[in-house]
Symmetry: C2
Subunit: 202 residues, 2 copies
């Protein structure tokens, strides 16, 4: 298909398609002339994912390019794809803080994670922020969340297709960037529902 | 205490303290002269919370002012405080999409939520984004998450102090803005741990 049809099928304006092509978020089409190219279903899928990362995930174009690049570049197991995607996905945290407590917690829960996993630093920073406002996270409360979130992760990982590496990588990116807003919205709704239930009992 | 000590105690630079005062994130001190004012422990607490919202929560100064304003303005039950805080907190979504499916889901799960709760629109938008990339969320998968997240919300609500309205409101804001990064980091770590466990079994 031509670029105009690519735009029509995906609902992404031609100017945005050209911008994403120029920035490398979508691979170039097959050249059919000096100024024309042909696109296929792979371009449609990649363009939809690029738009979702930028518009729903709130990623910068540069961050989206890194994440989409990890889909092409990663080799090997689902586990490696997960690592590559998590490293490229926000939030990005500095190197300044050693994730000592986060490592201890993961170890206490029997979670085997890479000692330099970016999520360890994210956790350490988030815990430091809580301590900083005078509302430190207790080990007990964290353990209760960890138990429930481990079960959520089992649902996550079960949902990743094992048919092809690219499909698996795409599912991991979608699972991180696009499911996070779903889960956060569910938590806010559940908080409201639980607070109503508590009111009823009091 | 003077502004210099307020800065020293909280670790927030004087220039930032002045900026937050000017923008209304922190209430003015008690004037003790033409250019001097005294601050107390309430200012310390508010300043720490303001900094955490902006630096960890990633809120704009305007959004942080709205959230902090909801702490002062809200009257009544914890349930109302929750609604006010959620409305002021990101992500903000437009009015364009009617949250039809989100309402149906909440109703199917027996969750009593306000029909105009902002989280319903957040959920609807997030679900639309998943459908848009060709990875729609099934009712079955959502129900599994909803069950686990309802239990997370029970931990959340149990942790809210009932001693005073202001403490409750502060805890709700902290629970939403500062615990969300903790829970997301835990999910990423748990995904890695579960994917290792799955590898071991295969």
């Amino acid at each position: 298909m031509r670029i105009s049809e690519l735009s029509r099928v995906t609902g992404v304006p031609v100017a945005t398609v050209k911008y994403y092509l120029r920035e490398g978020l979508v691979p170039p089409g097959r050249a059919t002339g000096a100024t024309q190219a042909q696109y296929d279903e792979n371009h449609v899928a990649r363009l939809r994912l690029a738009r979702a990362l930028v518009q729903v995930g709130g990623l910068s174009v540069a961050a989206a390019r890194d994440v989409l690049g990890s889909l092409d570049a990663t080799e090997g197991s689902l586990h490696r794809v997960l690592g590559a995607a998590h490293s490229a996905l926000p939030p990005h945290v500095g190197e300044e803080r050693e994730p000592t407590r986060a490592r201890e917690l993961a170890s206490a829960w029997g979670w085997r994670v890479h000692p330099h996993a970016p999520a360890l630093r994210q956790l350490e920073n988030a815990l430091a922020a809580l301590a900083d406002v005078g509302a430190p996270a207790s080990d007990e409360r964290l353990a209760r969340y960890a138990d429930l979130i481990h079960r959520i992760a089992q649902v996550d990982v079960t949902g990743v297709p094992t048919t092809s590496r690219e499909e698996a990588a795409t599912a991991v990116v979608i699972g991180t960037v696009l499911w996070e807003p779903v889960l956060l919205a569910l938590r806010r709704l559940a908080q409201e529902a639980v607070s109503v239930e508590v009111l009823d009992q009091s």
